[in-house]
């Protein structure tokens, strides 16, 4: 085969990496290049340097070191039996690309993953080598996210965490049965074992830094994972349950959902219909409800319909409110924060504003209108001194009034 140019390989290996949803560069330790030899800074908030027409942010150079792979996972474009063009980078090439992009302010850093070549250990060593060159030889202080391979030895994964801001291990599928079926070379126990060890290391390193200021950091931006939605039969309730267990057990920063999308050269074992993109969105919303709105996983699951899936036409918070109407209306002048957070249309910021404002004045509906994005959405669920939605809350067709009329488009 003719030698591929750097650009051709970049195209292949970026294309192969795009099914990883995460591009976050936030929440890591603050650092900058003052007093150093290289470039780079992370100041807490991530920066999205560009947006692609798929609506996703481009914050990191997200590529694979190679898309050769000895595994045969059916949902993956890089599986052994797929007929896809293959390429590989040397660690030095990845380093050069990262620095060239970073100096031009295209990116916040690197998100490096890889197909498994030779062995899990060999591959993981190569990934770590890229991070080592960046950190040690170029004093790079930007963001590095390394995908870790659960089958690799614990020491190599440990080395990854010392260089990287974030490490992640994909659980891939919400159910063990799905994993066995679609990713025959992977093992749920092994994945969770690696996540557990990473969690322990993160806690250990944090603890050491409390006592010794110069103790090495270990993945200061924590660990995350990704689940593919719609490739196996798991419904939303099952996915939410799995996610909340992952958050609880492994202290994950984020669980990413990736709606299974038609990939070139897809395996025939996969379902035929891709899930609507909206499903992914609803799952993220339910994730938010658990993380920021005080919903218990079971409560989110209660919002699901009979088939265990969240309704697609309305968001899960509204779905919950419509199911549990006895909890409403909420008096915005008296209700505690937890109850205000349950009101569809009131976000965490709006609730914080209401709480400060009501120390100064008794809220009228027009005040609420100024504090929120859409008073029409909030109105049926609240009461103020001049407003009481007795009629609205009891209406059987309330859902119809709140659902947007336009149909959510499926792109096809």
């Amino acid at each position: 085969m003719a030698q591929q140019s750097l650009r051709q390989r970049l195209e292949i290996l970026a294309d192969a990496a795009k099914y990883d949803a995460s591009c976050a560069s936030s929440g890591t330790a603050k650092k900058n290049s003052l007093g150093g030899k290289g470039v780079g800074s992370t100041e807490g908030m991530g920066i999205c340097h560009a947006y692609a027409p798929d609506g996703r942010c481009i914050s990191l150079l997200k590529i694979l070191l190679t898309n050769h792979c000895i595994f045969d996972c059916h949902y993956c474009i890089n599986r052994k039996s797929a007929n896809t063009p293959r390429a590989r980078f040397t660690p030095q090439e990845v380093v050069d690309l990262t620095l060239n992009f970073y100096r031009r302010n295209y990116i916040e850093g690197l998100f490096l993953s890889s197909g498994i070549v030779k062995s899990a250990n060999h591959t993981m060593e190569q990934l770590v080598e890229v991070a080592r060159i960046l950190r040690e030889e170029h004093d790079f202080r930007g963001y590095i996210h390394l995908k870790t391979i659960p089958e690799a030895d614990a020491e190599i994964i440990h080395a990854a965490g010392l260089y990287a801001d974030r490490v992640s291990i994909n659980v891939e599928l919400p159910t063990t049965a799905g994993l066995t079926r679609l990713a025959p070379d992977k093992n749920a126990g092994q994945i969770e074992g690696a996540m557990g060890r990473t969690k322990a290391r993160i806690i250990e390193a944090k603890d050491e830094r409390k006592r010794f200021r110069h103790a090495p950091r270990f993945a200061p931006a924590g660990q995350s994972t990704q689940m593919i939605v719609g490739a196996d039969g798991a419904n939303d309730a099952a996915i939410i349950g799995k996610a909340s267990r992952l958050y609880g057990t492994f202290g994950l920063r984020r669980v990413y959902y990736s709606a299974f999308s038609p990939i070139p050269d897809a395996s025939a074992v996969l379902p035929l219909k891709r899930p609507p993109l909206l499903r992914e969105h609803r799952l993220y919303q339910s994730d938010w409800l658990m993380r920021f709105y005080g919903f218990a996983p079971q409560e989110v699951a209660d919002a699901a319909e009979a088939d265990g899936n969240l309704p697609l036409d309305i968001d899960p918070k509204l779905a919950w409110a419509l199911k549990f109407r006895e909890s409403f209306p909420v008096d915005v002048n008296r209700a505690p924060r937890e109850l205000l957070l349950r009101v569809p249309g009131l976000g965490t910021k709006a609730v914080a504003r209401i709480l400060t404002v009501r120390r100064h004045r008794t809220l009228r509906l027009e005040d609420v209108a100024r504090l929120t994005a859409s008073v029409a959405k909030v109105r049926p669920f609240i009461c103020t001194v001049d407003w009481r939605p007795t009629f609205l809350t009891d209406r059987a067709d309330l859902r119809g009034l709140l659902v947007r009329k336009s149909e959510q488009l499926e792109l096809f």
Partner: protein, 482 residues
């Protein structure tokens, strides 16, 4: 407020700011004005080149430029920390009325120290909006500045960017770029002024023009390739992109010129993916007749284009045993029935010997079409590829879902892959049950055609093993029936 002791009745004050982003200057003057009890409607704030907000019709020349003398014991002017933080941002906004708004709020803060907490107040809200849009502009500057590398005369690299901010943020944001690119020589040129960092000191320069910046950089070609490749055409969400990367920024982003063609190509590309990726969307068949019909029309893999027919499975639709071979051969293709050729005859003999009634089993193949290559006049069998088996698995799974056999016999590695989705070693897996996900038991053995290819003692040996596998299967069948 108290009586205006120090202000002559009707006097107007016009404060000229030395620079549009000079918050410190505003703060100092505003403090003095409050101490002199000058109410907001008596002050206009004028930035360089501007006319001020309140007295625009009267022209900038009108109004006292000098402040009234401070009272002997000036009172302390107070403002909440929150106000100072927000005002510092809002002062950078390009709205000419911003300094007037700031002063009105400072004035009101003196009698209502907790004013900033009243977020339903229209002026507080306006201030927050101004600050928010300045912060957004700053954030977009961090994101969308694009450096281009030029070589200086001394051979060192110099990174130069052209950026057009909406507000007066350039000086305030210089520190961000200094922290990030401390050891790099860089310049950011904007219509509101420029900043230059040489690795040690920051310099400010006059407003620049786009032509002053370099026009290209070879690395941009790589960046554009990356941008186009990381985009997933299966999920087009143009609105989401536009809300975060509005069109006004596009002209200074090297990657943005690709956007129209990426959007246009996306749907065509997805359609191509779906066809290349094998199947059109179709519903799972619910009867064996539908399987036969569907498989006959299926063109999801290249085997189907060989001009052969799909050979459907046969047997009772509720059979307790399903026997799966590799693919139809020459004679099966002609007859349209599975296992009728030499291998089929051998299988029949062995089944009979083991006491298994073939008529009571559902017999089918992992791949439904005959794959072959011409050799002279003969159609020579070709093994199906893993991809082809996986593609055809759709039909095999449908058959299993309909027949729901409790025992499945896989003849050979291809059949095992069709059932398990992965390649397994027959010699390692034979002789024990593998639990399938629907609860059925899978038994794996060799394909009878393997026996046909052997000679002498090797054949006898393998035939004995095959017979033993079938005997064990017969036993299981009996146990299950019992």
């Amino acid at each position: 407020m108290t009586a205006m002791q120090h202000v002559s009745l009707g006097a107007h004050y016009a404060i000229h700011l030395p620079a549009p982003d000079n918050f410190a200057f505003w703060r100092e003057r505003a403090r003095g004005l409050v101490q002199c009890d000058v109410p907001p409607d008596r002050v206009s704030w004028i930035e360089p080149g501007g006319t001020g907000d309140l007295f625009a019709s009267e022209g900038p020349a009108r109004g006292e430029k000098r402040l009234p003398p401070l009272p002997a014991d000036p009172r302390a002017v107070r403002a909440s920390q929150r106000f100072i933080t927000i005002a510092r941002s809002a002062a950078l906004h390009s709205d000419p009325a911003r300094f007037g708004l700031l002063y009105r709020l400072l004035w009101r803060l003196q009698s209502n120290p907790r004013l900033m907490e009243d977020k339903a107040d229209p002026e507080v809200r306006r201030l927050e909006e101004l600050a928010k849009s300045v912060q957004r502009d700053a954030h977009k500057m961090h994101a969308f500045v694009r450096f281009r590398e030029v070589e200086e005369e001394d051979g060192t690299p110099h990174f130069v960017a052209w950026f057009e901010p909406d507000h007066h943020i350039v000086r305030a944001e210089a520190a961000f770029f200094m922290r990030r690119f401390a050891n790099m020589r860089w310049s950011i040129l904007t219509p509101r002024g420029s900043i230059h960092w040489d690795g040690e000191t920051m310099r400010e320069g006059p407003p620049a023009r786009r032509e002053d910046a370099p026009q290209g950089d070879p690395v941009e070609a790589l960046w554009r390739s990356y941008y186009a490749s990381i985009f997933n055409p299966a999920r087009l969400k143009v609105g989401a992109m536009l809300s975060e990367m509005p069109k006004k920024y596009w002209k200074n982003l090297p990657e943005a010129e690709l956007i129209p063609q990426l959007i246009a190509g996306a749907q065509a590309r997805e359609a191509a993916m779906v066809t290349a990726g094998a199947r059109a969307e179709r519903a799972r068949p619910v009867s064996l007749a539908e399987v036969a019909q569907g498989a006959a029309a299926c063109r999801d893999c290249p085997i189907a284009d060989c001009g052969t027919r799909a050979v459907a499975g046969e047997g009772p639709p509720q059979a307790p045993l399903m026997i799966v071979g590799e693919q139809p051969g020459d004679q099966e293709d002609l007859a349209g029935r599975p296992f009728v050729g030499p291998a089929g005859q051998l299988l029949d003999e062995h089944l009979q010997a083991a006491g298994i009634d073939r008529a009571g089993a559902y017999v089918t193949n992992a791949v439904k079409h005959f794959k072959f290559a011409w050799k002279g006049k003969h159609r020579l069998h070709q093994s199906p590829g893993a991809k082809e088996i996986d593609t055809c698995r759709w039909w095999l799974e449908a058959e299993r879902a309909i027949v729901q056999p409790r025992l499945v016999l896989a003849l050979g590695a291809s059949a095992a892959r069709g059932l398990l989705g992965k390649t397994v070693s027959v010699t390692r897996e034979r002789g024990r049950a593998i639990r399938l996900d629907d609860g059925a038991e899978l038994w794996v053995t060799v394909h009878p055609s393997y026996l046909l290819r052997l000679d002498g003692p090797a054949r006898d040996e393998q035939a004995a093993l095959f017979a033993a596998d079938l005997a064990r299967l017969r036993e299981r069948l009996g146990e299950m029936a019992g």
